[in-house]
Symmetry: C2
Subunit: 249 residues, 2 copies
DNA sequence: AAAACACTTTGAGTTAGATCAATTACTCCC
DNA sequence: GGGAGTAATTGATCTAACTCAAAGTGTTTT
């Protein structure tokens, strides 16, 4: 409930805080290099891009950008976790995505016209992101056709995954939406059981799935009571995904 | 209800019917040239691509491809209208998109890996589509960097629009989902009123918006009774979109 | 260690929307 | 133009999920 009216009221001013620490730790660089949008870049180009980027540190619940703000940068998550959400006219906060370290977001803005962020982005805990100028990446893409191929593959994958998200949301009842969501979180899908970590606090998963936190809680309690999931804070253990699918008919 | 169990039961065999008529009518060609994925192609390349493509005629309710089928082609709609949908384990049919003449679909498959269709596609009425080999388009993209830029812009736009679709679906009540859907159909959005043609039969709009046909019908009847829309078959007239937004709070 | 805060769970009452059933209206054929 | 098939509407229940309220749990702050 506190969360349902977060952004506009809570955070007003200091949107961005750059840190001077350069982006050169081996782990972070390695993660960047293994992202499809950057893996094709040669050493020199990658170096150049990083030089033009800034490393941003975000505190718990800090806002990175606002919906409709002009979008001159896109982002790579170094550490922490963020969420994307929109605010409608009545101020209701609707979570659309969560972003983990190693992911990019707002990268779609590289070619959006006009370049405005389509949603809010805030840190769910203290996080660090690399803020990459759209222009710099764009120039690079144009300089080497191979780069564009990689970007296309990335965009295609993203489009498929959004399509899939949409599919879940056309499921009419809350229980089945939650079940499908959980199965998608499993490393091997419905193939085999496993442990799942909710990428968002429960009340935000609820928002993502268009249900109330109370409903989420009750459904999960019910699945637990029926031995379908074991719950430990935000970690869920699903032993038999097939059974879950069956009960969702 | 008949529609809720369409594809698997109704259409079993003849998925594709090519027609010999070449794709050279001025209107169709003009439409193709004005699509972002093709507008940058020079005359020779476009000609070459068309030669490798086939023109397909689809009857009312005819299936073009199935979910999970290997995807070697993508499509451009010459005439008619199609819809994309998925079928879940219990055979429920969930409409995800509708495609009008001048649009492309399954174009995301150009770079998908593995290349499998993510949904079913069927004609809503008798239609003609151009079936373009993924490989041919891919080769062309690689041959000219300018082409890739155009494709990237297209993909970016597509991703933003899917994101927006997802947002609508996180709206929790059926009435507000329908209102937002209608406003998105308006040529100028909430700016000014206008006439809207439903891109799908009402029962499929309902499916797209995760509600029952009965609910759709009742909500529309209610909006009509309150003078918010005028309804004439599948054409709706919305005089004051702002008022619609207000009542959706 | 207590207080403040943020999130989750549980309970009780209410309602939006699903379901079931029947009627009406179109559309396409013959 | 009549009949079959499909889609849309309307009515009457019933239930899933929302709302409001309160208590419980965990985390951070001082």
């Amino acid at each position: 409930m506190a969360l349902t009216q977060t952004a506009e009221t809570r955070y007003t001013k200091p949107v961005l805080v750059a840190v001077n620490k350069p982006f050169d730790d081996e782990d972070g660089l390695q993660a960047l290099r293994s992202h499809p949008l950057f893996s094709e870049l040669n050493g020199k180009d990658l170096q150049h891009l990083i030089q033009q980027s800034r490393r941003i540190r975000l505190g718990h619940h800090q806002l990175l950008y606002r919906q409709d703000m002009p979008a001159h940068h896109f982002f790579f998550v170094i550490s922490g976790r963020l969420r994307l959400y929109r605010l409608d006219s009545s101020g209701i906060d609707r979570t659309l995505d969560s972003i983990a370290p190693g992911d990019c977001f707002a990268e779609v803005m590289i070619y959006a016209d006009p370049p405005r962020y389509a949603c809010y982005a805030e840190a769910l805990k203290s996080s660090e992101v690399l803020m990459i100028p759209v222009k710099a990446y764009q120039d690079m893409l144009e300089s080497n056709p191979k780069y564009a191929q990689a970007a296309l593959r990335h965009y295609a994958k993203r489009a498929v995954s959004r399509f899939h998200d949409l599919e879940i949301m056309t499921v009419q009842n809350a229980r089945d939406r939650l079940i499908r969501y959980l199965i998608d979180l499993l490393p091997n899908g419905a193939e085999e059981g496993g442990e799942v970590e909710l990428p968002l606090p429960k009340c935000l998963v609820a928002s993502r799935l268009a249900m109330q936190p109370e409903t989420f809680s009750r459904i999960l309690a019910d699945l637990k009571a029926n031995g379908l999931v074991r719950v430990n804070r935000s970690r869920l253990f699903i032993s038999d995904p097939q059974r879950l699918i069956e009960i969702s008919q």
